[in-house]
Symmetry: D2
Subunit: 403 residues, 4 copies
């Protein structure tokens, strides 16, 4: 890679690294590690094409950030070269804290540490290493820079992160429903009193964007089979952690085992960085394969079923399962597994909701629409389709998985 | 997966498993393992989107086989339901013998065993397990079935394997040059005296197919940077094998180490099956990470450079490098590594040729064109572009890589 | 064209004419005439790529009909070869009654004749010519055949017409918002008690389908600029009709003039067929060019502005324009045109609503969803997004155009 | 259209008009007229999707010109704002002289006037109208501007014209063979001593470009059926011209008839402009329809067969037809038409060659490749595939058409 590198991307075509800082970030081992972390967790068990990585996605975000900033400049929004580099650095680093299989293990591997907290740790480390070169990028990332639109492009209801992942995930899964008119939306962006706004005539594209995201959630991200696989994997790690707690000797990736031995309530701190940055998807698969030889029936069975895609049966409903039904299925499952202590590893009940996945939370940070008359209003006040009722509604589904 | 499963494929749309046999093959752990093996080896270090797997590709081939057989039946070629199932099984299994990173390690991990030999072992094992259900599929696969066109669709100059991988690799790399008019070529297929032929008016599409393949070889498959990475990985494994021979204790994947300890001249036999089917890409990445802690400087350095994509400098030319130039670069490299025993691990010279990659070998099995007047001739006799001179020519390039 | 003709289609790939009847329809001058009629009227003045024809669209519908029927047969729905041919004929002929610029002139050129009425006339004529070969196709077309699902595929809330035009119009305009998961929807179709149903797991695709259609209406079909151009063209023809009524001599296409002289209340009858089938888009453009030399200022001005795309200024709003505003703009326009009799040709006010465009009427013919438990319910009862409130709501917009 | 207009293009996405000059050209009636002229003549009779217009194509060229100039500037090539506007104007106007059906009638309607000559007339007229605003654009267009690369981008072996039409024609025909890596080729462009060059690593893309063009010629542009239709249309106009010479009264478009009455040897001059700019495809279709009522059997028959796509039988071969075969088919045709004077209208023999279509002429203006060592050489000296022998070879085919 020379410092003016162009990369082929199947989604956006050629992506150019716009600065030396971008080049240095991409070249760093922390970033190269993202090549070994799939973007969509275990979704590839349902959509076999979906094996693209956080590395791809991060470069795609960089590309869209550059497009958006160029377009805003062309519209007369003042943005300095340094701000441009910083915003590009911020978006490149926005997912640097992801661990193996992206979101899948976020609350399992390190129960009390979010990927955002790890991102902060890593950025701080890099910034120290690089003597403050990331100061402005971190200010933008954390919403402390006084041009809020830069932060909103990194992280907001209409950030380049979403504009990339919806199209990218559609591309790799083959599910056309998620395709979003990204080029059009970017062309319609503007800045009004420091805030990111979109012009009125993009309303239909915005509606489409919101709904594509909702559809991708239910049709892909929360597909009952991949959620079931994720629950199985989470319980596998839980079992390993339990066995380690019992001083059981376990094979598998040493760095992964080290993290599993960490007290589950311990917050993110620098002791995390070394083992965390040492692991990626290969540690999971390698360990699962090792665990198929474990003496523990639970660990052995779950590992093998994941590797061979012999997933549990799963049912998803719009209304909660009746208590009797849950009990009956639980009893049947217990009969199969033969040990009440083991049941929680083979029988899961879970509610999935958009609240927990925040696909359209409103907070104070909605999508601002710039009307032709110069007013700025929230999207929900001008969209016929996305009225507040719809947008605020919590979609909820109920999942039951059993061996 | 129910036995009438439809799978989303980003390249061909929906793919339907056409038979219970196909379903059983896809469900088998040997086949599920292909989910963890990338199709294009280390090409993703140059084309970051190219992380698709042998699993994807095998399903894609299945789809094209079904399309081709349906079309031939519609043209009146007699094909029984059993033959259809068998041809589909044969194509599903054609890559079952691939090891980690597909072709990359084919001559390094097991120096005297080809992936085809492993495929045979695995098919024989499955056929025993399944009491002969694969008899006809294996006859087709091995060219022993008396309808040669079935074998030619599985393995020939115009097989569905190539028709899938050229389009699929183009799709995932973003390199448009490889796109092939697959749908058109399949529509033009026919059978003449038991042999697969293509109708005359497809000549331009066939020329395009041959040239797309040639371009993909030089622009993608043999890209100097990914070949360099592959050589580095091969030498890393060689070093590990050497150290094991010296009774050095090595961390890393036990199954991988077991294979590396295997006498290098030993042919394929059943003792191979267990360790071989236990490993996939994750064993390579896991071991490389473990080896970054090795006491051996060679193993440690190579492993780290691969993980962090700090690849050697590589040069590629159409003519051989001058002897003096090679010696000079060799001497400079030696100075850097400081030990003549280590030099071969940090300095590679290699000729790449189309012969070794057989992109257009003619043998007796060229592409047969059915002329309007009923004659069948070889493509090179009717193509203005692809005359024998061009097709027989051995393209050769020369590569020099050094730390 | 031989009778087993394959046609290249940029949207669906290769389209095969499935029967001799289909071949004969496509070869007929009535059908070839559709090559000279654009699908999307004057939309190409806004989306310059949208110059595709009714001929393309009709072949696309044929293709989807064939896919749907093949798939239903594969699921065990009994469909005879004759029914298949008839359904294919019905869909090929569904737009045969379209006149120049498709919908644009539907209520202007022949104020009291719909394109469906003309379609009936033409089918009857063809059926007489062909001694009843179209009997079954016409029964299906008119909903008189006792397998209702065949009619529903031709004309219903989820017919192949819509599945083709949404994707096709998206493709040619470059507006991605209209892309629909056609392949997925067709795979999910089934028949229940003779009615077309779709399986429950397609709900997200169906929601997307309904919303894509709504978005295409507002963003493309009812784009204020193309509606304005259509109103201008309608008024141009009205002016020509008025001048003919005044015995003014007019240049232009004789067949077009003949239709304009027809009493406006006259219903569809066989006297219509000859002049109607003689005209296509070229008569409109040719006549507009001739009329730029007219002595009549209104006719001359409108014709020239259409040809040179000097369209009126147009405003579109969600709420009705205030009376005072309309009056003020009217007065300003009057001042420009200088003659109160001419004002209606240069000043239009119009309400556009989804009711008039029926994008989601419910009638008795909604989209039937087959639940997993075997029940069949209307889509709106199971969709979280498309509740009855939303679906029944009449979207209305208000347009003002002035010179 | 406001002066900062963005246009949706299905091939390249959003196209922005880069200057007021570009806006004024696009708005001019001469340019709007291109909306009514199909890009690919009668190819739509074989590829029904290919109904895109010169208007689309000209905007597409504008887009690529802008991309190329931006990229060259980014590489440090000095280009002033005025030169940019002028080059954009030159490419917008490069096809302004095309008449109905683009190339089809180029040597029939005005036998001694090329479309380039008409383009010159129109540019001169516009330049007078606009007081010299097009001076620089015309200098670039005519190769008189002292930065040759600007002319080479407008018209050369690797101009944006070809880069647009190959992709666009592929897109609209559905023939994938013509897709070209335009984005990649543009990224590899540079300027060396004032000449346009492409960097060495683009060689495979350039080979693909040359071959795609060759394939498109034989598979699409020179498809025997559309060439046959074009010959039929040429002979129809010849017949009309002959009848007018005999003082026969003919219906049809007056402006078209005026051009047909023009002495066939008369060169391009200003008297041409008015009738020429008045006609477009609609005049052809309208006249053909009028001529189906002609008393002249030849004119009537040819017109009707074109409208109803009842084309002559056509045969194409790589070697010339034998004299006897031609005579035999001629005699059979004569028997059918019954009049020796009419035979030339119903029986055509024609050789098609790449020379006449100049797909790879070398002249002094080949494709210059900038080698890594700084040398500039012709593509054919560094391409393994495109050696001089192949490139200089005249491909020739022979066509026979008869009623």
């Amino acid at each position: 890679m020379n410092k003016n590198k162009i990369v082929n991307d199947p989604v956006w075509g050629f992506i150019q690294l716009p600065s030396e800082l971008a080049y240095d970030i991409v070249s760093h081992p922390y970033f190269q590690r993202l090549r070994r972390i799939v973007q969509m967790g275990l979704s590839f068990l349902v959509y076999p094409g979906a094996v693209h990585t956080r590395f791809n996605h991060s470069l795609g975000c960089l590309h869209l950030m550059k497009e958006a900033l160029d377009m805003l400049q062309a519209k007369g929004v003042p943005i300095t070269a340094e701000e441009k580099d910083a915003a590009c650095a911020a978006i490149l680093l926005h997912d640097i804290g992801h661990g193996p299989l992206s979101h899948v293990l976020e609350h399992t591997l390190l129960p009390s540490v979010s990927h955002e907290a790890v991102s902060q740790l890593i950025m701080q480390r890099l910034n120290r290493e690089w003597n403050g070169r990331l100061d402005m990028a971190m200010a933008i990332f954390n919403g402390r820079y006084d041009k809020p639109f830069l932060h909103q492009l990194v992280s907001g209801q209409l950030d380049v992160d979403r504009l990339d992942y919806l199209n990218r995930d559609s591309f790799y899964t083959g599910v056309q429903e998620g395709v979003v008119g990204t080029e059009r939306i970017i062309k319609m962006m503007n800045v009004h009193e420091g805030q990111l706004v979109v012009e009125e005539k993009s309303i239909y594209s915005l509606e489409k964007f919101i709904l594509s995201r909702r559809m991708m959630f239910w049709q892909v991200y929360l597909h009952k089979t991949s959620v079931c696989a994720e629950l199985m994997l989470g319980h596998t790690l839980d079992r390993a952690r339990f066995l380690l707690g019992e001083n059981e000797e376990l094979a598998g990736s040493p760095a992964l085992l080290q993290l599993l031995r960490r007290p589950s309530g311990q917050a993110a701190d620098d002791t995390l960085l070394e083992p965390f940055s040492a692991i990626d998807d290969s540690d999971i698969w390698f360990s699962l394969k090792a665990w198929t030889q474990s003496r523990d029936m639970v660990l052995r069975t779950l590992s093998q079923r994941l590797l061979e895609r012999k997933l549990f049966k799963s049912e998803m409903r719009n209304v909660p399962f009746e208590k009797e039904y849950i009990e009956r299925v639980g009893a049947e499952t217990l009969e199969k597994v033969g040990n009440a202590d083991w049941l929680p590893y083979f029988f899961y009940e879970k509610s999935l909701s958009t609240k927990s996945y925040k696909y359209d939370t409103k907070e104070d940070d909605g999508i601002r629409v710039l009307l032709k008359d110069g007013q700025v209003v929230d999207l929900t006040t001008v969209s016929d389709l996305l009225d507040r009722h719809f947008v605020m509604k919590v979609d909820e589904k109920h999942l039951l998985c059993h061996a």
